[in-house]
Amino acid sequence: MVDSTVVLNGQTLAYTCYCLAILLVMAWFGYKITRPGKDNKIANALFYSFTGMLVVLGVSLHIVTFNTIPWAPMDLNRADIKADKVFNITIEKHKFTLPEQTLNISCNEKVLFSVLSHDLTYGFGLFRQDNSMVFQMQVVPGHPNDILWQFDRPGIYTIRSTEYSGPTGWNIVLKDAVIVTCNTTANN
């Protein structure tokens, strides 16, 4: 499965280009409407094409992401996918309890992180050494919260609670708690 930075970079690029374009359009528009113009009537065809474009964009965005972001279909179907490894994690009084000191994972294993909260709403996220995020989910008390993930590269990751759980809970961090190793001979 591709690393989430790839998706993030794609998204950043697309959104940045869009922002620059719309800034220019508005600047152009702001200039143009202060000038006299010949044809002031907007053609209905333009309006309907614009509407059509919005519809196409709105519909295609999710279809495209569903087919290109690997964790999206895996997430929706995770009940039917057998995990290679399951980690049962609990959280209570602003403290995570892991099944082992560090969670050791091999590349391309399908790993299920299952997190239960015994009191408040928390979050569960994995972060790289440079603080960027691999993924996160919410941890709601009284419900199962699980996420299936597949790592394609070695790394050491930090667990953080990604949801605010009161002023005591701003720093629920387990540094370097997840270690992914890749056996170079393993093929998948």
Binding site: T34, P36, L57, F127, Q136, G166
Partner: protein, 540 residues
């Protein structure tokens, strides 16, 4: 006139509060209080901006999160609600050419929002009650972290605001439908059905098409007000629930918090909260754009019937999109994530995109236009939504939400650009266009300051959103603290943009005070000398 005289009497002493009608005073009071609470929110925002660069020793983390709890609530209820209520309580009668149903109720509305906001702000300030506005169960009743009394006063403050809000709802619908004294009987039901769009839908299917009885902006106000009403219902219900837990705790009885299902609670609360963000804000803003565009150009709205339909679609959509806030909740049913979270949410791109296009097309039809303050700010507001809505649509995606949720991205390029650029600039455009009507022709003190406000708000707002967004894309969480300077480059840049926003607001505030004078500001809060239900004084 020298500086001091202007400061006291206003620009060229043109503003005479004695000549204001009770309705003008009412709206001006709402606007003044709305701006004062905006100042609260800006100062709180700036404190948090500094804190996120380096924690301020005098402010504990408990207080930091109390500020973070108060900030959006003061911003939305104290500031935005006040300005919007003030403007719409004036505009509905203005556009329907009939008096407001009840000025007395409107005054109660004003005081309840003002005092309620102060109550919750002050109890947060004193006791550091800090569950944040999302109130994820059971955090609001976690008395190992929060003071019970602080919580009770906080929730009571919110309840006062909600009561005031209910009065607004009543006043708007009563004004649309009632028959003023001495008038021919008004067709209440037909007016209501036109305002809500029911007759418009019926027109689609029937041969004899009926005229629209209410104008488009009134229809927008009515439809947005439906969401205001539903939202206050949800907040009151949730507030009462929390209060019950608090009152029992006060008497030493601890109710089991597991009696409430945290996920179900999250669903209903987001259903209610989203009626603000994806409901009334979008509808009110679109309605205001249409009104501004027609007032600025003096032309009919482009594609008016489609605009009306889009407003109705937006209302219905706003009831069905809440799941986009639960895309990272793994126990949330997948079909709700896909249907409500992704698909229905995508409609917002269409409705808001249409509103954007229709407004621009209407402006275009009146070329050349003079770049007045209302037009400038209107364009700023349009740009704000053009930036923030696609950001929202991207988040509302199962794949992308996994790496965006609860990061600074959500709260930067989406929320703050929507609020500070999209919403705030639209409101400033409305304030500028109403200013001469509400003040009987007072003069603006300085156009230079108005320009500085415009650019400061625009660049500061977009800039702050952008730098928060970059931090978010690099993994920086919201509602969190990074005390080792992990994201300092972005946080310093965001802080500079925040400072620009603060200065822009100060320039605007100073400009308004210099325009009406300190005497004028005081005069707004004195009882009106005119005994009239008219909106503006009768011409002599």
């Amino acid at each position: 006139m020298n500086f001091l005289q202007t400061l006291i009497k206003g620009e060229q002493a043109m503003f005479k509060p004695d000549g204001l009608t009770p309705m003008q005073k009412l709206t001006l009071r709402f606007v003044v209080i709305g701006l004062v609470y905006y100042a609260f929110a800006v100062i709180e925002g700036m404190l948090m901006r500094i804190y996120e660069i380096r924690p301020i020793p005098a402010i504990s983390t408990n207080q930091f999160f109390a500020i973070m709890t108060a900030h959006p609530l003061v911003g939305i209820f104290g500031s935005t609600y006040s300005i919007v209520f003030g403007a719409f309580l004036f505009l509905v009668p203005f556009l329907m050419k009939k008096p407001l149903w009840s000025i007395k109720l409107a005054n109660w509305n004003f005081w309840l929002v003002t005092i309620g906001t102060f109550t919750f702000w002050f109890s947060g300030f004193l006791t550091h009650y800090a569950p944040l506005y999302t109130l994820y169960w059971p955090l609001p009743v976690d008395f190992t972290q929060f003071s019970i009394l602080g919580g009770i006063f906080f929730i009571l403050g919110i309840a006062l605001v909600m009561l005031g809000t209910v009065f607004f709802v009543i006043n708007v619908f009563a004004t649309i439908t009632y028959t003023p004294e001495g008038w021919d009987k008004q067709p209440s039901c037909a007016l209501l059905s036109s305002a809500l769009g029911i007759s418009g839908v019926r027109n689609l299917f029937s041969k004899n098409k009926k005229e629209h009885l209410v104008s488009l902006p009134v229809a927008a106000i009515a439809r947005g007000t439906v969401d205001v009403a539903l939202n206050s219902g949800i907040i009151i219900f949730t507030g009462v629930l929390i209060l019950v837990y608090m009152v029992f705790a006060l008497f030493g009885v601890s109710l089991k918090d597991t009696a409430i299902d945290a996920l179900l609670y999250k669903n209903w609360f987001w259903w209610g909260l989203d009626l603000v963000a994806d409901g009334l804000v979008l509808i009110f803003v679109a309605g205001t754009w249409y009104l501004l565009a027609t007032l600025i150009t003096g032309k009919k709205l482009f594609m008016e019937n489609i605009a009306r339909t889009a407003l109705l679609v937006e209302l219905i959509v706003s009831w069905t999109v809440w799941s986009h806030h639960l895309l990272s909740d793994q126990a949330q049913p997948g079909f709700l994530k896909v249907l409500s979270g992704e698909m229905v949410t995508a409609f917002e791109l269409i409705t808001q995109g249409l509103a954007f296009f229709i407004t621009l097309a209407t402006l275009w039809s009146a070329r050349p236009l003079k770049m007045t303050n209302p037009l400038k700010f209107l364009l700023g507001g349009l740009l704000g939504f053009a930036l923030a809505v696609p950001a929202g649509i991207m988040q509302a995606d199962i794949g992308l939400n996994r790496i965006l949720h609860n990061t600074q991205w959500v709260i930067g390029p989406h929320v703050h650009v929507a609020v500070l650029v999209g919403l705030a600039m639209t409101l400033y455009a409305a304030i500028y266009i109403l200013f001469p009507i509400l003040t009987n022709g007072a003069q603006l003190y300085s156009q230079k300051l108005a320009n500085f406000h415009f650019w400061g708000q625009l660049i500061g707002g977009i800039g702050m959103g952008a730098f928060m967004g970059m931090a978010g894309l690099h993994g920086m969480l919201r509602r969190s603290l990074y005390v080792n300077g992990e994201f300092n480059t972005y946080m310093i840049l965001a802080g500079l943009c925040g400072a620009l926003l603060l200065f822009a607001f100060l320039a605007f505030f100073f400009n308004i005070v210099m325009s009406v004078g300190i005497n004028g500001v005081i005069g707004i809060f004195m009882p009106s000398k005119l005994k009239t239900k008219e909106l503006v004084p009768a011409q002599e």
